[in-house]
């Protein structure tokens, strides 16, 4: 963004006051000028806050194997920040972004977090994608008292003062989906399959407990494939032998593509087999191909086809910024929430200080999220709904079910 653009935005900002009010954001937005909030008062811990600007960090993998997944999050976060700046910024200050590349390498995430927090003194970081990268960066955030907004749906079992989790934790994504498929498809037998690492394993553990103890169903097989493995012949035969009512899948990465292609080729398409997956968003469909997915179900909190005014606007602006062919997956939307939640928290706190922001955010209700209403829970996760999408051939999903608001429960009792 050039500096003349920025000046224009400042001019526009006053016009946008009304808009922002209509959007139900904080009263102070837009109309706030930096003069009302002297720098010395809003930043007491040496963060990079000046009279005109505040610096935040974006930390995702722009290179390496994870770049496939994380690109969407970077785009969404930048879009949100550009929109916030257009509305006048936060406490009258423009947001400036320092973007760092985690390069799909976990120590690099720790290293760059340290740089962002210690050298750049950023007020907040939007970033990390895999659990491994978050786990590596977490001690840095806790030690330097930084603030991280983490967008991915993940396995739970974590709650940190310094992190807000804008994606769903495992129980939010799993329980309601299983309830629905049991009821809707009269499913009794389940076959669980996932990539061999912590997120699928934890998810499957929760799923198994729920199926066996609460739904009266039976798990007839549980299978893990090595990350990156692309041969599913034997696994598919095992599934054929067990004839489960539902395949419950959490396969990721290159394996995911091979899994769906080979499943389809083995005759297990959606006409014959019900499958509910928790690892396919619009982003993955590009690689898998709509024809291989058609008719299968995904459990996510967000789908691009969601019908509501917030989402229509979000999708339109996302496409305007990144091209007509851009697709928006669950994580991309969750990443988009990060900057907005941070802005709201800063304004509620009247300060950029991490300690005050962290206290101010829980309890905040956001009505402008593309996914609809969300609320920040005391445990730093979001209350959100679960949707079931049925994939179409064109790579988009029809939302066939929407749950009520689900409380986040990162340490679920009875599921561990």
């Amino acid at each position: 963004m050039s500096s003349s653009d920025r000046r224009q935005f400042i001019k526009k900002a006053s016009v946008l006051v009304g808009v922002s009010l209509a959007l139900g954001l904080s009263m102070a937005t837009g109309s706030a000028s930096a003069a009302d909030f002297p720098t010395a008062a809003v930043s007491t811990t040496g963060l990079a806050v000046t009279d005109k600007t505040v610096t935040v960090g974006i930390l995702h993998s722009a290179t390496g194997t994870m770049a496939i997944s994380e690109t969407g999050s970077i785009q969404a976060e930048k879009l949100a920040i550009a929109q916030i700046n257009e509305m006048g910024g936060v406490l009258g200050r423009k947001i400036e972004v320092v973007q760092e590349d985690g390069a799909s390498d976990w120590p690099t995430f720790a290293e760059k977090s340290k740089k962002l927090l210690e050298s750049d003194k950023v007020a907040a970081v939007f970033g990390c994608w895999t659990s491994a990268s978050r786990k590596a960066a977490l001690p840095v955030f806790e030690k330097d008292n930084g603030l991280l907004f983490y967008p991915t749906f993940y396995e739970g079992l974590e709650q940190s003062k310094n992190v807000f989790y804008t994606g769903q934790e495992a129980t939010q994504q799993i329980l309601a989906g299983l309830d629905w498929i049991t009821k809707e498809k009269k499913a009794k037998t389940f076959y669980l399959i996932g990539s061999d690492y912590i997120w699928p394993r934890t998810s499957m553990k929760i799923a198994r407990k729920h199926i066996e103890q609460h739904l009266g169903g039976k798990v007839v097989g549980e299978e893990y494939v090595a990350l990156g493995d692309t041969q599913f012949g034997s696994v598919i035969n095992k599934i054929k032998l067990k004839k489960p009512d539902v395949i419950y899948a959490a396969v990721v990465g290159g394996s995911n593509v091979a899994w769906f292609k080979q499943l389809n080729a083995a005759g297990l398409n959606s006409k014959k087999q019900t499958m509910l997956t928790i690892s396919v968003t619009e982003d993955e469909v590009l690689g898998i191909g709509g024809e291989n997915l058609e008719g299968f179900y995904s459990a996510m909190k967000y789908f691009q086809t969601l019908k509501n005014p917030n989402n229509d606007k979000f999708v339109a602006e996302f496409k305007k910024a990144y091209g007509e062919n851009a697709v928006i997956g669950d994580v991309t939307q969750a990443a988009y929430l990060g900057p907005w939640l941070w802005k709201a928290a800063v304004e509620r706190a009247g300060s950029f200080d991490v300690d005050k922001v962290v206290v101010a955010l829980p309890g905040y209700e956001m009505t402008t999220a593309p996914e609809g209403y969300v609320k920040v829970d005391a445990n730093h996760h979001l209350l959100s709904k679960l949707r079931i999408g049925k994939w179409r051939k064109d790579g988009q999903a029809d939302v066939v079910y929407e749950s009520g608001l689900i409380n986040p429960d990162p340490f679920p009792k009875g599921y561990q």
Partner: protein
Amino acid sequence: MFGYTMDEVGNIMVMQGFSGLSLFSVLLLMALGLAIIFGQMGVINMAHGEFMMVGAYTAVFMSKLAVKYEMVNSYFVFAIIAAFILAFLIGYLVEYLLIRHLYKRPLDTLLATWGLSLVMQQTFRSSFGAKEVSAELPEWLLGSFKPTADIDIPINGVFVMVLALVVTLGVYFFMFRSRGGLRVRATVQNRVMASAVGINTQKVDRLTFALGCGIAGVSGAAFTTISSTGPTTGSLYIVDSFMVVVFGGAASLMGTIASAFGIAQAQSILQFFMTSSMGKVATLMTIVIILMMRPEGLFASKVRR
């Protein structure tokens, strides 16, 4: 048996047998190009996976064209030919620019080609995007063939199998029934003598390397039907390919076929009875242990060292 009817067990055995065969053809296709380059020339081509991706991206690109000109049903054959040609040409160029300077230092080719693989990965990423892409497949390649009501034979598996057969036969006829192959074998056995009798050994090397890359391209194009296409997908194949070649005994085409067969059956059976990831570990472990006991591989070339 375990609460299943004999019928069911029979059907699964048929399908399991097929998936073993299909894995065999996948491994064979992966390894053939490498077997030629490594076995005949002693060059370790770490960019092998990336050459496969050249083929895969060619197929994806052709499928985009095919959708545009409404030729989805027939383009795949052309895509495979194009994949071969493109990978062949790139291989030819790489040999000329890079490999020919390193024949005396086999371990160094490993490093140089690894560097090459990084460059190629980034090229894919810059030109096709970081995200995985998929080729629009013709209808006749999708779904399954059903000899009885309960047996599904994946058509893409059959396709890969047929292709593996064609390529293997092609390589066989080239190597053992053509003058070109004769020159290649002569060069491998005794470079000095070969050049003394008038064989242009440099040209032979270049063609051999390019041929290996071309075959990698073909297999890459074929794999778009069964797995993913992304900038880093190639690196998933590299260890498996090397294991097949080394296990078979580098200089022997028969060895490569036998070892692909053995590894495929072992992996397919182990993955059926264990979880998939443990099956994979067990297979690799078995190979390593056998290799430690029989370092020259299954079919060692009978050469004094």
